[in-house]
Amino acid sequence: MDAFPALFGKTLDELNAVAIELGLPSYTGKQLAYWLYKTGVNSFEEMTNIAKKNQQILEEHYRLGVEAPNRVSTSADGTKKYLFTAGPGKFIEAAYIPDGKRHTLCVSSQVGCKMGCLFCMTGKQGFQGHLNAGSILNQLRSIPERAVMTNVVYMGMGEPFDNLDAVMKSCEILTAEYGFAISARKVTVSTIGIIPAMRTFLEKSKCNLAVSLHTPFDEERRRLMPIQTVYPLREVIDTIQEFDIGKYRRVSFEYIMFKGVNDSRRHVNELARLLNKVKARINLIRFHPIPASPLECSDESVIADFQEALNDRGIVTTLRASRGQDIEAACGMLSTRELVKSRNEEH
């Protein structure tokens, strides 16, 4: 069955092309989009407005491509971490974060990651593969909270802009009327700043952008994030400024607080200088320690002072609540544990 290509993850144009290819009525593409993206059906048989013989034709050439998660961990605060299989011995995770009326799903875009950021658990897995649009969207489609989801953020495993085509396609399906119909203003793609792909995203998508900043100083950022040697932060910010930010979309900067590394008044001053002309906010994030990391989270009082100092300098700065700490909150922890377990079983 898996040899058949999946329908889930195809755009409406692609579904229309499937209908033509199989000699089905021209409106079958739209019917498929409805069943795939607006309902929870798990078989062609359940697509009741498609004729039986056409269901049969679809079944003979395609599979739905929707896979249930194989595990879920639930935190005392309501956060859930879903673990999915992404091929033999490969795992990805998605985090569901309820917060009052807001229900956010944090999705993965790759299995592992190539970017090697010093503070990231996913990077320790190395890179194992890209997810296609279907595998990205499946993280939303196949969980029970799907119907209540208000926001989707691409902040799980992987660097979204290292897998641009699949991410763009998944964003289209997420936001299209024929798809999940989530407002583009409720979808955020996070990047470490791969400039050519970021430019394409800003040109072609209306979704929000989040940039992992973590320090305003070049040399310091080079130590934390190897990408800085190729695409420096200043050029990332210059590129963002070329676009009409604020009117149609939100840009934010993610800033993980590392004790004694990036939490000084010097950093506040440089951030204020760097972001002076950018209509953007900063999200401060507490560092969730990962094994063997030389980094620690800043003290609470330091984080509070840092936030206040940035707000005083006119930069809207929020502190993201730490969620799911009792279920391996740091991105990549759950899948890494599963990966290690699976490798141990192999040997």
Binding site: G112, M115, G116, G123, K124, T229, A292, L295
Partner: protein
């Protein structure tokens, strides 16, 4: 600043297969660069460029690009077919993975050796130790020149077979076995994400401050 990767056409001077599936493509140098920088390469002016480290020295007349064929990729199988006088599109050089004349460690796996070859040919070898990890004896590109000039400061780590003149094992094993790693020196890492992350962990575990570890990752 580089707003976009503006690509210009160059002609291939030569192409050499230096190991099975591994090539050095050369073209006349159209610009100055700093050893360790990358360029974008593409098959046309409009296609998305992929980044490659320059593998030749700052004073060399030709630019060398070291690459291996990624069968799933579009660019490298095409590049491998190029002959002398064929066209290739290149960006200006950029990036800051650059070294200096101070003592330090260059640590690479596979084609991650490219920026260190550029630094080597630029003459930044004073006090440098070069560690190169590879699977088999064919993996140690440019080893003749490294061996000749760096002598004992050039270490090959061969993970899948016993090779003459090479340590048998991974880079991480070799580094773990070193009793004392100088904490004050700079460590330059280039290769796959997995190698960079693993080596960085070993260095940090052995007391090297992360401030002294500079990485470039192939993506």
């Amino acid at each position: 600043m580089k707003k976009k990767l503006n690509l210009t056409k160059v002609k291939v001077l030569r192409q050499r297969e230096i190991a099975p599936g591994v090539f050095v493509l050369s073209f006349m140098r159209p610009w100055d660069f700093v050893a360790g920088q990358v360029v974008g390469l593409s098959g046309s002016e409009t296609e998305e460029a992929r980044l490659y480290s320059i593998a030749s020295g700052e004073l060399d007349e030709e630019v060398d690009i070291l690459y291996n064929i990624n069968p799933e990729g579009r660019l490298t199988p095409w590049m491998a077919q190029l002959n002398t006088a064929d066209n290739l599109w290149v960006s200006e050089p950029f990036g800051s993975f650059t070294s200096n004349g101070e003592p330090g460690w260059w640590i690479a796996s596979g084609t991650g050796i490219a920026p260190f070859r550029a630094m080597f040919r630029t003459g930044l070898t004073n006090g440098k130790k070069l560690l190169h990890g590879g699977r088999d004896s064919n993996s140690f590109y440019f080893s003749d020149s490294f061996e000749q000039e760096l002598g004992e400061n050039y270490v090959r780590c061969c993970s899948r077979e016993v090779c003459p003149h090479a340590y048998h094992g991974r880079l991480t094993q070799y580094l773990t076995g070193i009793e004392h790693l100088p904490a004050g020196e700079k460590y330059y890492l280039c290769g796959s994400a997995e190698m960079v992350v693993d080596v960085r962990d070993v260095l940090i575990n052995k007391g090297v401050p992360f401030d002294n570890i500079i990485s470039e990752i192939y993506f």
